[in-house]
């Protein structure tokens, strides 16, 4: 009896360890291929190079155009998701009554659950034509349209995590503020938001990480032309879209071209993993503050 109990516990523990194995697997696969890539391409050329043309006859492996493309789309997405997400969180947490909140939250969950390929369709075939009417000369593939749509996709994440953080702020703080004659807006912006600051920041960082790693919207609507630019109306290429572009073809294993997607993936993994760690640390902190 006791032996069976012991075996069960270790079996369950083994399953839990599989998650660690996944992380190690990701790191090992990315490291092996990236190391092989860096044997042929110097690190400095990769990280600081300003031309990305690995599929050309005279290939160049400067990753900066992919990085700026990724950042450009992410910044646009954040300009949409952060202010709108925070405002809707304030509304749901501080103004809305229970009934409205219970109606709106599932709808926001639906928005977050729509497959990203659907958002890609929406960006390319609805938002881009709409924007082209306002901005003449904007090309069919651009950073603006997928950026806006991505912001819309990430908004529910920002809203729901920020709302959780704000609802964790003790009632007494709000009541103290009202007693001093503050309005709801003053209480929200000067008491609740600052008190929930680390939780809200954690939500923002997680949102940035999500934007950087988002793939299908940009693969469909941002183009496949890596270029070093801050112009949101011309075609660009993000790191994720490049991986998709190469994967669509039949790239033989062991070629330099095959390894580029792992090297780009490595950068992507380092960036998002770092952001996720910071976000997890911040969330831990706000939990302790009011526990």
């Amino acid at each position: 009896m006791r032996k069976a109990e012991f075996l069960i516990e270790w079996g369950l523990f083994g399953c839990a360890l599989l998650s660690i194995a996944t992380t190690i697997g990701i790191i090992v696969v990315l490291t092996i291929e990236t190391a092989a890539f860096l044997e042929e391409v110097p690190v400095a050329d990769f990280v600081f190079g300003t031309e990305w043309t690995p599929l050309f006859a005279m290939p160049r492996f400067g990753v900066l155009p992919l990085v700026t493309g990724t950042l450009l789309v992410s910044v646009i997405a954040m300009l949409v998701a952060l202010p709108m997400g925070l405002l809707s969180a304030i509304y749901l947490s501080e103004y809305a009554d229970e009934r409205l909140r219970r109606t709106v939250k599932p709808i926001l969950e639906i928005l977050a659950g729509v497959p990203t390929v659907v958002y890609g369709y929406f960006a390319l075939l609805f938002v881009t034509p709409l924007l082209q009417r306002v901005i003449p000369g904007m090309s069919g593939a651009n950073a603006l349209s997928p950026g806006i749509v991505m912001g819309l996709m990430i908004l529910p994440l920002v809203s729901s995590l920020s709302e959780d953080a704000m609802r964790g702020v003790p009632r007494g703080l709000r009541e103290g503020s009202y007693a001093l004659g503050a309005t709801k807006m003053q209480t929200s912006l000067r008491v609740v938001v600052p008190a929930a600051f680390s939780g809200i920041t954690a939500a923002f960082i997680l949102a940035v990480s999500r934007a950087i790693g988002e793939t299908m919207i940009v693969a469909i609507a941002a183009g496949q032309q890596p270029r070093l630019t801050l112009d949101p109306t011309v075609p660009i290429e993000t790191m994720t879209a490049y991986i998709v572009q190469v994967s669509q073809g039949d790239t033989p294993q062991g070629t330099l071209e095959y390894r580029t997607i792992f090297a780009v993936g490595m950068l992507l993994f380092i960036g998002t993993f770092g952001l996720n760690l910071v976000s997890a640390w911040l969330r831990e902190r706000y939990r302790e503050e009011y526990a």
């Binding site: 399953c15 103004y95 659950g113 929406f122 609805f126 309005t183 299908m216 994720t240 039949d250 992507l268």
Partner: protein, 290 residues
């Protein structure tokens, strides 16, 4: 009250009303965007949707193309994902919630899972390509696709299962121990039956997310022009989201209508799964467990 105070008060009240209106407007715009998205896709794809669209295979002619191969591919892949991810994920969650406690190992595993849940899905695609497709020699098969999505779904399954286990009252466990049951007997006979609806809800949501995934499967090489339904776990395959991506990427407008119709099928499938999950959750909450 002096005139100055009164006018200050009026100004602050005005600002408050304006702020509330702005916040409400943001919410309305967001919901409006969702409505526009749905309307756009119904308008584009509603006309194309038909029985023959569901039951036909892919074709180079838009008017004859259907999604049968992609629909069966999606179902096949998600079944493999479920078989691989569900037992392991639930077991890991049981360990962390019931056995792990606050030990250092458990905390490291926990932090790791939270992090994995936020790793971009395309990274899992690279892992699947390097590990399953190449190193383990599974090729671009249903098995490789299902295994890749299983790794992706695992953190979500663990997190939601833990939440369901946490909702089971402590007194239930203590009652069981008091009657002389062992830890595993308590978990198997008392905790799991009570937590089952909650666990199931989380599983449905995790798997419906896997059905909507595109990028990791493209990365393991599932983009090839597959025109047949898979018949074993070693078959090459395509899935609905990849078929949609394929059609959206083509310049011809007729294929865009096909993409919209396929989106309607995909979204209907996911919404019914979500509705089932929400129904389960509501029933469970009314059951008076928590």
């Amino acid at each position: 009250m002096s005139a100055a105070v009164a006018s200050g008060m009026a100004r602050r009240r005005g600002a408050d009303t304006a702020f509330q209106a702005l916040a409400l407007l943001v919410l309305v715009v967001t919901l409006g965007a969702l409505a526009t998205l749905i309307w756009d896709i119904v308008a584009d794809g509603g006309g194309t949707l038909s029985w023959s669209f569901l039951t036909s295979f892919s074709s180079r002619r838009a008017s004859q193309a259907g999604i049968w191969h992609a629909l069966t591919g999606s179902i096949f892949v998600v079944l493999v994902t479920a078989v691989l991810a569900v037992p392991v994920g639930v077991a890991a969650a049981i360990y962390l919630e019931e056995y792990g406690g606050r030990s250092l190992t458990a905390r490291i595993i926990e932090l790791n899972i939270t992090n994995l849940a936020a790793v971009p899905s395309i990274i899992y695609g690279l892992l699947g390509l390097g590990l399953f497709v190449r190193t383990m020699g599974m090729g671009r098969s249903v098995l490789a696709g299902g295994a890749t999505l299983a790794l992706l779904a695992l953190p979500v399954v663990i997190l939601s299962t833990r939440e369901a286990l946490r909702a089971v009252p402590k007194s239930l466990r203590e009652g069981s121990y008091a009657l002389g049951a062992t830890k595993w007997q308590t978990i198997w006979h008392q905790v799991l039956p009570v937590a089952a609806p909650g666990i199931l809800t989380g599983l449905i949501l995790a798997l419906s997310r896997a059905i909507g995934e595109t990028a990791p499967l493209i990365t393991i090489g599932a983009f090839a022009f597959v025109t047949f339904a898979p018949d074993s776990i070693w078959s090459p395959f395509t899935v609905l989201p990849i078929q949609i991506f394929n059609w959206v990427s083509r310049p011809q407008v007729e294929f865009h209508a096909n993409a919209a119709a396929a989106i309607l099928v995909l979204v209907t499938l996911l919404l019914s799964l979500n509705a089932a999950a929400i129904w389960l959750r509501d029933r469970y909450q009314k059951g008076g467990i928590s």
